[in-house]
């Protein structure tokens, strides 16, 4: 048995504990607590727009929200900047939000996800585009039809492109000078490209890598496949789309246009695909370029700006990146991707996709129009972090302080090469990309490994394309 009487000291101690607990409980009770409304987009009536976080900083978000509020004070807007490492990671997070019942109304979607969203989640914009045709005439006149076509799926339009990036070739002027080479001509060939890499290697030593590329769907092997007049998957166009072309584009621009791209049969074992891989394998064997696993965009700006890399494929987005890294105009320049069998180039574009689950579809359409307005994009893309989809925004003024000197290349990749097209991104894009990256790594281990790796790639692509998403 213990003594049930409290001593004075115990009484004081327990009293202090009690007072402390009461204070803690009181403090906790007085704090604002999270409720369902604090979950982005849930139950507060806002129009929720999900964007790729790293591409949309706080300044961009402010531009969008404040600008939209001025135009549409009646629509409450919330920008949900989703942090992700790449588009694939971004789509995975958006799909998780949808599964969790917190689907946004609009999602910023790049070419990689256009068909996946269109097929499974998106709403066609056709009825609104037709309704507001007069208002949109100025937009379509300013945007290349290839970009618009890349946002169509089976005859319907799912997004208005606001930005794009084609894979052009950036060249380090200091490295060019060191190699005694002149800036390449616009119609340079694959052989000119190889000769330039050899000259650069000779003049810059063993610690130098002439050609840096990243193993990914955009800007990896695909530009070489396009230049060799082939593709990873057979490419065709869906019927339809005349409603749009006839309404907004002159006859010359309508030719060959359809209802969006179709990527169907895998053709990894096609001889031209094998040629492209053989070529890259030969560059690796000659120590003229990075191996696929060695190149990643994270350290690219650093090694390019310090002259340890000579050339790399990139889009208009890199002008801003190199400027931030301290490169002055004149210290780098850009040229088209070299010609092989053709000089067809590849691009990726992005815009806002409207989700079927949205209860604010009319409001979302208003945001889509607002986000594709010239004044909005001018404020949004001040730092040249991308190539605007509107041709009129690419001016000498824009690139005077940052470079490159041949900034016209960015839009001329579309205007002067009208067959330039989007990267192959069917609804099964995630698995297709994974198969491409995996087998590209094995294929380029040596020249002899190209054919067996492409056979395995073909088999895996066939399985991926058979699968219903």
């Amino acid at each position: 048995m213990t003594d049930s009487h409290f001593s004075r000291r115990s009484l004081l101690r327990y009293g202090a504990y009690g007072a402390g607990a009461a204070a803690l409980a009181g403090t906790a009770a007085s704090w604002d607590r999270l409720t369902g409304a604090d979950i982005p987009g849930r139950d507060d009536g806002s129009l929720v727009v999900a964007t790729l976080g790293p591409a949309y900083g706080p300044e961009a978000i402010r531009t969008l929200t404040e600008g939209f509020r001025k135009s549409h004070p009646d629509i409450k807007l919330r920008i949900n900047a989703v942090q992700a490492t790449d588009w694939s990671d971004f789509f995975a997070k958006i799909l998780t939000q949808i599964a969790a019942g917190t689907a946004p109304d609009l999602v910023y979607v790049a070419t990689e996800g256009v068909q996946l969203f269109a097929q499974r989640l998106g709403v066609a914009l056709d009825k609104w585009v037709k309704r507001d045709a007069d208002e949109l005439r100025e937009y379509f006149a300013d945007v290349h039809p290839s970009l618009v076509e890349s946002m169509m799926y089976e005859g319907s339009l799912y997004q208005l492109p606001v930005e794009f990036n084609a894979a052009d070739i950036y060249l380090n002027s200091q490295v060019l000078k060191r190699a005694g080479a002149s800036f390449p001509a616009a119609d340079w060939t694959r052989d000119d490209f190889t000769a330039l890499l050899r000259d650069m290697k000779k003049s810059s030593g063993s610690q130098f890598t002439p050609y840096f590329w990243t193993n990914r769907l955009w800007g990896g092997v695909v530009p070489w496949l396009f230049a060799n007049d082939t593709n990873l998957l057979s490419e065709s166009k869906a019927p339809g789309g005349a409603w749009l072309w006839d309404s907004f584009y002159p006859a010359a621009d309508r030719q060959g246009r359809g209802g969006g791209y179709r990527w169907t049969t895998p053709q990894a074992t096609h001889e031209r695909v094998e040629e492209a891989y053989d070529y890259l394998a030969s560059l690796i064997q000659e120590d003229l370029c990075t191996r696929p696993e060695g190149g990643n965009g994270q350290n690219l700006i650093g090694v390019f700006s310090t002259g340890r890399v000579g050339v790399t494929p990139a889009g208009g987005f890199w002008a801003g990146g190199l400027n931030l890294a301290g490169m002055k105009p004149g210290s780098f320049d850009v040229q088209y991707f070299p010609r092989w069998r053709t000089q067809r180039m590849q691009f990726g574009a992005a815009g806002y996709a409207l989700l079927r689950t949205s209860k604010l579809q009319d409001e979302a359409w208003e945001f889509i129009k607002f986000a594709s307005r010239r004044d909005t994009l001018m404020r949004l893309f001040e730092t040249n972090q991308t190539t605007p989809a509107r041709r009129s925004m690419l001016t000498a003024d824009r690139y005077r302080e940052m470079g490159p000197s041949h900034w016209q290349v960015f839009y001329d990749t579309l205007d002067k090469f009208p067959d330039t097209g989007p990267i192959p991104a069917p609804p099964q894009v995630a698995e297709v990309e994974q198969v491409l990256l995996k087998h590209t790594g094995t294929a380029l281990a040596s020249r002899r490994s190209v054919a067996p790796a492409l056979r395995r790639m073909q088999s895996d692509l066939e399985k991926a394309m058979e699968r219903d998403v």
Binding site: S88, A92, L95, T96, I98, A99, R120, L121, S206, Q207, T209, T290, R291, P292, E293, G294, N296, Q298, N299, V303, R308, A430, E431, Q434, L437, K438, H439, G441, T442, A445, A453, V469
Partner: protein
């Protein structure tokens, strides 16, 4: 040394007559209630965050589900697909190879360093070593892997630059099928060995000095003393360290994902990477769950085997 392990179940004492259990006093009831209250948050947490997801995964593995549409019952189709998928099979092989090599290296380094740190040295220096070896463990595995990716880059990495200074040609650390797994294991072990190291330091401190002194009097020295005295007495700690090490190694994800993304080819693709890719990139949550269930069974089987073997090799004082 004899095996004096305590039997798991004590032999029951014969009971002359089953007497009714005495009614617990108010104080005992209060103590039990208090115990239940203290245990409740943990139990609720385990049920919500462990039991429910495990059961959920098992159920989900029997369905096709792409997040967008409603799940459809698939029976054993996901399991059939899994065993016919070469990527899944390769990932299991990679994970097992990784587990064996990484855990062996981790335990060896940790034990060697623990013995060294436990030797004669100033107390402050011992503290410095303990902190230094444990430090990588508190860092994010993804951050470490990003830094290591820069260091091991074949063309621009510091490691190859340093090797170049002594005339060694660039090593394709992350770009060759032969060396990529080795690089992933090195990075993983560098970060993880600190935990085993701390366990071993604690275990070594618990070995009574008298036993070492007795062994010395019997003529045991150096390696013989460690093999015959230290290791058997440290075997319970070794068991804990290896069980934890194996469970962690079987779930490795960050290092191969960041360093090599599973490549070149599939040479460093692990089971958890396949689960992530299948579920969150390809939207095949049912198949990903089936792979997860198989990994769960594998972890349980390996752990059970370890405990089974431990009856022969683990010595309790």
């Amino acid at each position: 040394m004899t095996n004096t392990q305590i039997p798991a179940v004590r032999p029951q004492q014969p009971v002359a007559e089953a007497a009714p259990a005495p009614r617990p006093s108010a104080r005992e009831r209060g103590t039990r209630l208090l115990a239940a209250l203290f245990l409740a948050p943990t139990i609720v947490g385990i049920v919500i965050f462990t039991v429910v997801p495990i059961v959920g995964s098992i159920v989900l593995s029997l369905f096709h589900w792409n997040v967008i549409d409603s799940p459809t019952f698939a029976g054993a189709a996901n399991y059939r697909e899994m065993v016919n998928d070469s990527t899944v099979l390769v990932s299991f092989r990679n994970t097992l190879v990784f587990m064996v090599l990484a855990v062996a290296l981790q335990l060896l380094i940790a034990l060697t360093l623990a013995l060294a740190v436990n030797g004669r040295m100033p107390v402050w220096l011992r503290s410095v070593f303990r902190s230094a070896f444990f430090f990588p463990l508190i860092l994010s595995a993804a951050s470490i892997s990003v830094v290591m990716k820069y260091l091991f880059n074949q063309d621009f990495g510091l490691v190859n630059w340093l090797l170049g200074l002594i005339g060694i040609a660039p090593v394709p650390w992350l770009t060759s099928e032969n060396s990529a797994m080795a690089a992933v294991i090195l990075v993983y072990v560098w970060q993880q060995f600190g935990f085993s190291f701390l366990l071993f330091v604690g275990g070594l401190n618990n070995i009574p000095k008298e036993i070492h002194e007795a062994a010395s009097l019997d003529g045991a020295t150096g390696l013989r003393k460690h093999l015959s005295v230290t290791l058997p007495l440290l075997s319970p700690t070794l068991l804990v360290a290896s069980v934890v090490g194996i469970i962690n190694a079987l779930q490795v994800f960050e290092q191969p994902y960041v360093l090599t993304n599973g490549g070149p080819g599939d040479s460093t693709r692990t089971v958890v990477m396949v689960i992530y890719e299948t579920a969150f990139e390809q939207l095949r949550f049912g198949e990903a769950s089936a792979v997860g269930v198989l990994l769960f069974v594998l972890v349980m089987a390996v752990t059970a085997l370890q405990f089974r073997l431990s009856r022969r090799f683990v010595h309790y004082q």
